[in-house]
Structure formats: C-alpha cells, structure tokens
Symmetry: C2
Subunit: 310 residues, 2 copies
C-alpha cells in the first residue's frame, strides 16, 4: 500500500488531486493544501484552495470555472450588491453555506483542519484534506502600486497589476500541520501538483517546519509543471514569471523548486526542455481535459514516484 | 403637517405601518421598532422586526408569510443543513445578504440605527426606521422548562412551550434611541401598532428613558388591539394571555398598557368590550387583509389621534 502526500493549491492542482483520489484510498493519499490565500471577507473565513479541492473531490465543482459549485444560484450576491456590499468575490448561495459553517466552527474553537474534515465528511469525502498549517499565513502580492492581499490581486484586480515579489506573512512563525508531518513519516512519495509555484506551493514551502519535513523525508519529491508550452493552463503563473523576468518555461519551474525535487514531470510539448532540468524528468501528456486525463496523469506520476524510490 | 411616532414589532404592526407610510411622508411619521428579538445566529446580527418592516415598506415582503422576502430561494439553507449547520431559522438567499451587510456595518462600528438607515435607503425607503435602542436588549421567554431566547421560543420551538413570564435583559441599562426621543418632542400622536404587547411592545416600554419620554410627551398615545374576537390575528399573543391567566380579550390589551394610553382602537367584532376600556375607544374594522384595509385603518387611527389631541 503506497503512502503519498499530494501538495495542491487551486484549480490545476485539484485536477491531479482528483485523479490521485480515484486511484488511491484515504489511507494511501493525503492532500496538503495551501492556505496562504485564505482571507476574511464579509466576516466569513474563506479558504479558496481548500474549497476548490472539496468541491472537486466531492463532485460538486463547477466544470466551467473549476472553482465554486455547479448548479449555483446568485440571489445572495445580487442582493448584497443592491445593498452596497462588496460583491467582487463571487459567493454563490450554496457555496456561502460552507463559509458560514466553517466560520462558525472556527469561532467555536475548531482548527482549520478539524473544520475541513467535518465539512469534507459531510460532502462524502473520505480522504484527508490537510491545511498546510492551522496558524494563519497570508500571501501578499507585491506590485508597483504596493502590496495586495492575495484575493484582491487575484479576484478583485484580476491579476492585472505587475508582480514584483511575494510575501507569506506569518509563515516564519507558523507550525506545519502535524498531520502532514506525521503522514510524511514513512511516505513513499510527495507529488507537487501542477499548481502555481509562487502563490500556491511557495506559501507551504515557506513554513520552515514543513520545508524541513519535506527535505528530511526519504520519499522522492516530484513536481508536475503547471507551465505547458510557455503558458499556464490556468491562472497567472506565466504572467508572473514574465514580470519577475523569468522565462515562462517548464524547466524554470524545476529550477524554482531546486534541491527539493527528486523528479520533474513536464508535458510532451516541452520535451526539448527536459535536458535543462537537473533531476530525473518524466515527459508525458499533462494537460487534463477529461476525468480520464486526470487519472492517467495520476497513474504516470505514481509510477514515476515508484521508480524514483527504488 | 402631523408628526406621528408609530411603535411596531412584527408582521401585524408592519401592516399598519405600511398604511401609515402611504398616508404620511418621511417628515410626518417615524417608526420605532422592537429590537428585543434581535439575536446573533451563525455569526450574523439578525433583527427580525426591523427586517419585517424594511421588507414591508419596500414592497419586498413575502405576502404569504409576512416575514422574509418574496421570490426567495433557499440554496444557502439547504446546503447549510447538508453541512450540519443550524437550519431552523429560515434564512433565504436574498434575505441573507441583508444580515451579512448589517453585521459588517455593525462590526465596522456603525450603530443599529445607522445600519438600518443605510439598508432602508438602498431599498428605496425614505421613512425613518428607528431601532428602539442602539444598546442590546434581549427578550427572554420564561417557560416551565426554563428561559428561552426569543427566537428559540418563537421559531425553533414554534411557540409551543407554555409561557410563565418575560424578561428584557439589558433594558434597564439601555438608552432610548435619541432620534425617537427627539421625534417625540413636538409629536402629535403615538400609535402603538397591533403588535404583540408582551414581546413586541413591552421590550420598548421596559427601557426606562423611552417609557418616560412617552409619558412626558403631550401627544396622545393610541394602541390598536392585536387581539380580535378573542384571538391573535398572527402570532402567539392570545396563547400567551391564556398561559398568563389573562382573558384573551381586546379590553385586556388596553388594561395591559394602562396609564400609558390615551386612546384604544378595537375591532368591531369586539364592540361589546368597549365599555371595559378605561380610555376613549374607537371601534372600527381593524382586520387588514388588503392594502386598502391597511390605509383605511391608518386613516381612522390618525383621525382618532387628531380628535384626542384637541
């Protein structure tokens, strides 16, 4: 029985996570999730990456957007707008219940981990969804116009401001989720899903105890490139790389993760870049359009991990 | 130009308030609203009586229930139930936006009065809606099984427990809304709408400064009986009277308000009880089924006030 830790952020990561969840049971794969873009909005504790994973694994995700729920209604948001409230963050009526319920549990003293487990269980998810930390870490996006809270950058300002750097406030003091550290002991592989390296994965790696646990683990660490053919399949990763004066190329993602990696997975479109990657590289079809694509990539990544472990 | 203060609680009171608002402009009638049944629920500040009035005056009220909005949807509540949250208080998707917006304004330091004015304005209401106090007052319903927060008694337990008494926690220390006290200076009449005397009007009267301001005002105070033909048209008023061993009769309502009253309005069905009322009494059609009924009763009550003033 394998024991895999999958590290995931938003929509792209959740696709591979879904594939992994179809192949491996709750005692075989656990998901470590970015909480750097969590924020308080309208008095609610909102955990976008965790919720994307919850909706994806429970089959409730909106297939068109990747985030939020399918068959959603918008009565709340429309009325909030009428009342002069902040309507830029798209909270659907059904989605809202999750945020209200989580906020209530957190106010009653539950950890983020416990609240996520309760909600996931109610939605029929048996796998462990582990927030990277129960302590607050907040991703700030530095721009020419000053720092922006992540959701302001990402949703409100539609990733338009040019990025000059990132800050993960609180990460230096944050304790890693002990359930992640436990899971890593005796793990057979760590899969960094195709999430944004800068704002989905780096928040986790910036928690000293979590990075150390990953370095200490004998399990091979494998990252799947979110950059394919010089572009991000979803989200601002390629735009960020350009603004940071990095070539928006898959091999740069491997370079970014550096010594953490034991293996790298890139798309067949980028086969010519494989020579520039310092670790063992699997070149395969990584673009996930269908459920079958997700499962096939998960299968390939697991086999790659297994090979690296020997 | 008359200057009327209307005191109102829930659904019955809001009907007459609507009639008054059709006859008198924003400089002619102001509404003092019970906040004793306000409560925090799911982290939201909910003001049921204020909201009933807001929805009634803005034309958004659900005509079948009297509370909540028409054309409401229930995605939030259904999902909350799935997630194990408390779904007994019926929060519709559109309605919810009002509570979220109010809660946000209160957390940002706005008074209940300012928050109500902002929300009412956004919904096109020009009249003043004045919470009885900006300080918290909480109605507790005493029952054989112990005290119940009002909404637990009223909504969750459907008024089933037998009532032994009432408590308005915080009323003794609450300052009356200064805008109500101001309005009373130079007022021409005070109309106590047909709301529940025990749980809609008494919370206001239990605020010492507010009761005193009503007593000090030269304006005649007129109450409209919510009891017609021995029954409450809406809500538990008659049931409460029976449990408190009071005859569930209109004349008992007048007795309950006692020296505060200068006039009393009762339904023609109860004409034979008029002799038992210690103040001048107007016997008229008080059952409000249509908008015309609401306006006609408002007209009769205003004429009665005017007569008493001379």
């Amino acid at each position: 029985m394998p024991r895999i830790l999958a590290i995931t952020g938003g929509v792209g990561g959740a696709k591979l996570a879904l594939g992994l969840s179809r192949l491996l049971g709750p005692d075989e794969v656990a998901f470590a999730v970015n909480t750097g873009d969590d924020f308080e909005h309208l008095g609610l504790e909102i955990c976008p990456d965790l919720d994307t994973l919850i909706y994806t694994l429970s089959g409730l995700a909106n297939p068109d957007t990747g985030w939020g729920r399918r068959d959603e209604t918008w009565g709340f948001l429309d009325t909030l707008d009428t009342l002069g409230g902040e309507a830029w963050f798209r909270l659907g009526d059904h989605d809202l219940a999750l945020h209200v319920r989580r906020t209530e549990m957190l106010r009653d003293g539950a950890t983020r981990t416990a609240a996520a487990a309760e909600i996931a269980g109610r939605l029929g998810i048996a796998h462990r969804l582990l927030p990277m930390s129960d302590d607050p870490v907040r991703t700030l996006v530095h721009t020419a116009g000053g720092p922006l809270a992540f959701q302001h950058y990402f949703v409100r300002d539609r990733c338009e401001p040019a990025v000059t750097g990132f800050e993960f406030r609180g990460a230096d003091r944050a304790r890693p989720n002990p359930a992640i550290v436990d899971w890593l002991e005796g793990a057979d592989g760590v899969v960094i899903c195709p999430s944004n390296p800068f704002v989905s994965v780096d928040p986790m790696l910036s928690i000293p105890g979590l990075r150390q646990a990953l370095m200490d683990s004998p399990a091979p660490v494998v990252a799947v490139s979110p950059i394919v053919g010089g572009a991000a399949l979803k989200g601002p990763a390629a735009k960020m790389m350009a603004e940071l004066e990095l070539p928006a190329r898959a091999d740069q993602v491997a370079r970014h993760y550096g010594e953490l990696l034991d293996g790298f997975v890139m798309d067949q479109q980028d086969a010519d870049l494989a020579g520039g990657v310092a670790v063992e590289t699997l070149v395969t079809q990584t673009v996930m359009r269908t459920l079958e694509d997700r499962v096939a990539l998960a299968e390939a990544v697991l086999a790659f991990c297994d090979r690296l472990k020997r």
